[in-house]
């Protein structure tokens, strides 16, 4: 069968394949660690926003506490590695499982709230977790956890100075989140979740189970975000609540998707490509620590996008929207 949906989905796959090839060769001409670092972070935030988008964009449940899943994922994988020498590849699976379960646990009470109230509840839960981790001395408390260097190896996901391996791991992570989003988009789940986002009452009347839909979306979104935390911890070698479980990080996870286009397949990547280099530049030229300039920058960006392009930057590339689609 061939129709607008199948054609669009095939086009998306082809675009993704071309993009993947481009991204694989992209870092090769750039040898300085700064640029490669920037690429790695961009991919990280693209993937995190893609994960966020599964719940916030597809299912319409705006979470402003996603650093909870990122942070918990990082802690799970890191502590397994530090205490028991579990390779981070297995740590990622554990991180996904724990973060996914945690998302279900958060969703159980919070999904009884709708709209803004749900968003506020996610902020509160994440802040509680932040304070908890800050004061939990058993897992390092405010001073955090150092990831000991066990020698350069793919198994431990540790590399002395090389950035390239991390780039490809992040690329793999981004590809994973993209494929998850793409598969969901074409499945019964994706249709149900979008129905929940658009009109709960109509969705219910068509047999869509609203609460389980939100829970499933949250579990997948949270689990993928947890994987990101696990990879990030190996990349930076040090985690503490301020760097991986904070309110500003929660905003930064959601922002690329909002900027690029909420609920779209390419919005998160596009948003991250714009936002993350801009953030790095601003912290390089304006000073990073505690100045708040970066926050002003995010605010200004959101205002500009909300005023000029409410559907996100991705709408700049779309043809045939607004009724003329054929």
């Amino acid at each position: 069968m061939q129709n607008a949906i199948t054609l669009r989905r095939r086009r998306e796959l082809i675009t993704a394949a071309i993009l993947l090839v481009l991204l694989i060769v992209l870092p090769l001409p750039f040898h300085d660690p700064y640029t490669r670092n920037l690429m790695i972070l961009t991919l990280l935030y693209a993937a995190l926003a893609q994960s966020w988008n599964i719940l916030g964009g597809t299912c319409g449940q705006i979470s402003l506490g996603h650093s909870l899943y990122f942070g918990v994922g990082a802690y799970v994988s890191t502590l397994l590695f530090v205490w028991h020498g579990v390779p981070p590849w297995f740590g990622m699976l554990a991180a996904a499982a724990v973060a996914g379960l945690l998302a279900l646990l958060v969703g159980w009470p919070c999904f009884r709230l709708s709209g803004h109230y749900y968003a506020i509840a996610t902020v509160v839960v994440q802040e509680i977790a932040y304070l908890l981790f800050l004061n939990w001395d058993y897992i390092g408390g405010a001073s955090g956890v150092y990831v000991p260097f066990h020698g350069q190896s793919w198994m431990n996901l540790q590399f002395r100075t090389a950035k390239l391996p991390y780039f490809y791991v992040m690329l793999g992570f981004f590809a994973l989140t993209w494929i998850a989003a793409w598969l969901i988009e074409g499945s019964r789940w994706g249709f149900s979740w979008r129905a929940v986002k658009d009109d709960v009452i109509a969705a219910r009347s068509l047999g869509v189970r609203v609460f389980p839909s939100k829970m499933a979306a949250a579990a997948i979104s949270g689990g993928l975000t947890g994987v990101g935390g696990a990879i990030f911890a190996q990349f930076v070698g040090y985690i503490d609540p301020d760097s991986i479980l904070s309110g500003p990080l929660s905003i930064l996870i959601a922002l690329p998707a909002v900027l690029g286009g909420v609920g779209t397949l390419w919005g998160p990547l596009l948003g991250a490509v714009v936002l993350i280099p801009l953030r790095e530049l601003s912290s390089t030229f304006l000073g990073s620590s505690g100045s708040g300039v970066d926050l002003m920058l995010y605010g200004a960006l959101i205002m500009v996008v909300a005023l000029m392009r409410p559907q996100g930057l991705v709408s700049l590339f779309q043809r045939g929207r607004n009724g003329s689609a054929s």
Binding site: M1, N3, A4, I5, T6, G186, S187, R188, F191, S192, R194, A195, K197, D198, D199, I201, A202, A203, R204, S205, L206, G207, V208, R209, G263, R321, N322, G323, A325, S326
Partner: protein
């Protein structure tokens, strides 16, 4: 023939306002039953009970002899009740085809099957030409059609139409009437709310008139228009001399 849908002594009030009081009637398989009454008579409220959106305070609703009241909208949809809404509720971030596919997924798991079902239903409802248009771009009449298509795609036994013909131009209303007849011809039972008598009476086999939450009368269209209580409810005492 056994009734498809049975309403037994149903009452529902919302904070002291009695929306439905002791309502009982049967819907026979294959018929088009009209649900009439002035504004505020309790028609939409009754619809919400039948589709599971609200739970009746008293009484029960049976579909093919099985109790469905109080089970919620999802269970009602799975049992074979589909509805449209008085104020149209389309999924505005989706195309027409995607809207109808959500309905098709009620009974189908695979995307391919849901697409085929949606295509067939859109063809039946005359929406094929608009299949890839975003739902929010449709005209009011097309949106009504979309609601019918989405409901039909769930594969229902009974279709509840809430003022599907209200607010349409005469031509659009005629097309709507033709669609309702075509749905009946497929063997799907229809319960339709309208408050425009002249539109609905030629269409239905029987009609129920509600007033102030109670059943005023049940009968064939010919009986309804002559009933003094109906005339009184619609036109006031002066005209009810009969």
């Amino acid at each position: 023939m056994a009734a498809l849908l049975e309403i037994r002594n149903l009452s529902k009030s919302f904070g002291g306002v009695a929306a439905n009081v002791d309502i009982s009637f049967d819907v026979a398989p294959g018929e088009i039953l009209g649900l009439l009454g002035p504004n505020g008579a309790g028609k939409t409220s009754l619809f919400n009970s039948i589709s599971g959106e609200v739970t009746p305070d008293v009484g029960e609703i049976l579909l093919e002899g099985r109790r469905i009241s109080g089970l919620g909208p999802v269970a009602c949809a799975m049992a074979g009740i589909a509805r449209t809404f008085q104020v149209v509720r389309s999924f505005d971030s989706m195309s027409v085809r995607e809207n109808v596919m959500v309905g098709a997924f009620t009974r189908l798991g695979s995307t391919r099957a849901a697409m085929a079902q949606a295509d067939e239903t859109m063809e039946f409802c005359g929406l094929t030409r608009r299949a890839d248009a975003p739902a929010h771009m449709l005209s009011p009449a097309e949106k009504r059609r979309l609601e019918v298509a989405r409901a039909l795609a769930t594969g229902p036994k009974i279709l509840l139409l809430d003022e599907m013909l209200t607010g349409l131009t005469p031509t659009e209303a005629q097309e709507g009437v033709a669609l309702v007849r075509a749905v009946q011809a497929r063997g799907i039972t229809i319960l339709m709310v309208e408050h425009v008598m002249e539109v609905v009476l030629p269409l239905v086999s029987r009609a129920i008139v509600l007033n102030l939450g109670r059943v005023l009368t049940i009968g064939t269209p010919a009986e309804i228009v002559k009933h003094p209580e109906v005339i009184r409810a619609y036109l006031g005492d002066r005209y009810a001399a009969g």
